[in-house]
Symmetry: none
């Protein structure tokens, strides 16, 4: 681990703690307010809460790993040599990124067969995207990072195309009071997911040493908060809006 300033250490430390607070609160909100939406949308809200629960677990681990990797004594910081575990993020994404797409598909309430087909296709692409990113993430060589970044962008692009063109017809079929929100949810997925490949290239475009580490860790943390907790609130709002027009509710 590179030498890092106390200011940088604290910035990352506080970003992780912020993420723990947000993911914990978001999980409690989704689980408690699940009963406020019509039964047909409750599975979507359960999954929404699982995503932030899994992220909560991993941010606690990431926070501990970061903390154990440095020792601060009398205002001086030095690495302990334990190493910061980058794998937590990728294990988290491997589980949560497919689930995020399942949330969106469930809240749209497509015909059962189409839901399963879409969830399987997009979920698999998302898992492949995450797996292809990892070998580059743990490399410090720019060429290796670009190679895996490029490979990972292939499933990413396929998901974006599917969300924009494959789902257009289904969005037209949404009840009018929810159509705008569902369409917005697609944009939130794409825009918040775009942060990840951008953060990934920080170390390849001039950020070096501790600046790169700080920018990557803070960048991923902000991206996770937007794409899991804020996106989840949007899913909840769609479910609540659509529940108003549920006949049996």
């Amino acid at each position: 681990m590179e030498t890092i300033s106390i200011g940088q250490f604290n910035l990352v430390y506080n970003a992780f703690s912020f993420a723990i607070a947000v993911m914990g609160a978001a999980t409690a909100f989704f689980f408690l307010n699940r009963s406020q939406v019509a039964p047909v949308y409750r599975t979507a809200i359960t999954i929404t809460g699982l995503v932030t629960l899994i992220a909560l677990y991993h941010y606690v681990r990431i926070f501990t790993s970061w903390n154990d990797d440095f020792s601060i004594l009398n205002g001086a910081i030095k690495p302990t040599g334990k190493g910061f575990n980058d794998a937590y993020r990728y294990i988290d994404w491997l589980l949560t990124v497919p689930l995020l797409l399942v949330e969106l598909i469930l809240v749209m309430r497509l015909p059962a067969k189409e839901s399963v087909a879409k969830a399987t296709k997009l979920g698999l692409l998302a898992a492949i995207m995450v797996l292809l990113g990892y070998p580059g993430e743990i490399s410090t060589d720019s060429g290796t990072r670009w190679l895996w970044w490029t490979l990972s962008m292939i499933p990413f692009t396929l998901i974006v195309i599917d969300l924009f063109f494959g789902l257009s017809k289904s969005i037209e079929a949404q009840p009018e009071n929810a159509r705008g929100l569902v369409s917005a949810a697609r944009y939130v997925v794409v825009v918040s997911w775009l942060f990840y490949p951008i953060v990934y290239v920080f170390p390849m475009i001039g950020f070096t040493g501790s600046d790169a580490i700080t920018a990557v860790q803070v960048g991923y943390t902000i991206s996770d908060i937007v794409s899991k907790a804020m996106f989840g609130v949007l899913i909840y709002m769609i479910a609540a809006r659509k529940s108003e027009t549920e006949p049996a509710y």
Copy 2:
């Protein structure tokens, strides 16, 4: 404990952390979504959640035991001599393996008398199977391992025979929309359970030292995720599908 490389240590460490995330998320899903199935199937879903909850507890213990067994300083790893506790897995299986069979029997909804008889018979056989495996697991002698492996395979074979021949008639009696899933659940039990005796023999067929330890720990972890969490999702899907045809639901 054998010397182990940092890469192997981290692989096992991350596999255990992955299992904690999966078992925790699965438990939350089963407990929350239990209300989404008809009342007659809720006990099956409760048991499904208990299995992943018990596994969550044991993976936290296993993770801690693994972590305490090694110390990493300045990029070098060495055993602390505390020892890794293999018993956690067998205590877990002693509780969860009979419960897994109970899940399957409950979701099939056989006549009450038959359910109790089947659950007692299969549950006892499963407990005997786990108990017979343990003396071999803690032995490093190949002959001893083969002896207990063979003994443990006797109840294993009896369970497989019962699942395939004893349950055939009951599967015919399942509602049509769930028959395929129930039949698939039997295969998932048998195929995912087959991983265990295969992983068990790794140290007897050429894997040695830290390679054997790594292969066994990662192998059992994958088997547990498939046979508890993924199998549980299948049980949930069967319950949800069968709830659709419940007259009073």
